[in-house]
């Protein structure tokens, strides 16, 4: 059965491997995520070696349609975030 790793699980994992208490680790995990978000926004890219790269790129405005009312609307340009996995992590996921 596939399980889901959440923030609590990440905190536990780090707790078992360091000498900090859970509250400190929880706070550090929040800081890491905040720095990651800032970096993706500011640099449009965040490279985590051995894992992958988060990239923010621009999407042009495009015409869309509300499927319920068939009304045509213009979707505004926006930024989207994609994750590209590293070769190393790809190899770890697919051992030959």
């Amino acid at each position: 059965m596939a399980q889901t790793l959440t923030k609590a699980g990440i905190v536990d994992y780090i707790y078992e491997r360091t000498d900090k208490n859970r509250a400190e680790i929880k706070d550090l995990v929040e800081s890491i995520l905040e720095i990651m978000k800032q970096s993706i926004k500011k640099d449009h890219a965040l490279l985590v070696s051995g894992f992958g790269k988060f990239e923010a790129y621009d999407k042009q405005a495009r015409k869309g349609r509300n499927p319920q009312t068939s009304e045509t609307i213009t979707l505004p340009p926006r930024k989207v975030v994609v994750f590209r996995l590293s070769r190393k992590f790809r190899a770890e996921l697919n051992p030959s």
Binding site: A2, Q3, T4, L5, T6, K7, G9, I10, Y13, I14, R17, T18, K20, I25, D27, L28, V29, S31, I32, L33, I35, M36, K37, S39, I40, K41, K42, D43, A45, L46, L47, V48, S49, G50, F51, G52, F54, A56, R78, K79, V80, V81, V82, F83, L85, F89, R90, E92, L93, N94, S96
Partner: protein, 91 residues
Amino acid sequence: MNKSELIKALAEQKKLHVDESTKIVSAFVDSIKEALVRGDRVEIRGFGSFKIKDYEGYVGRNPKTGDVVHVQPKKLPFFRPGKELKEFINS
């Protein structure tokens, strides 16, 4: 930004020694990687979620040479940004 800059930024912000910051960030990344290798989902509130997709192998062709190639089954992770991250990036 790359991983070592992330480690430095965390160390400065939280007044940690770089060695300690390295340990924390590495464990953070490892916890996510290990979960995905097991085939588990990862869901980080405010940031996003990862899930593994399984692809079956197939027999393909090299379009340039026409050679038959056997593509092995593979697992690839997919990331879906969370609502907060999407809003943050677009604000």
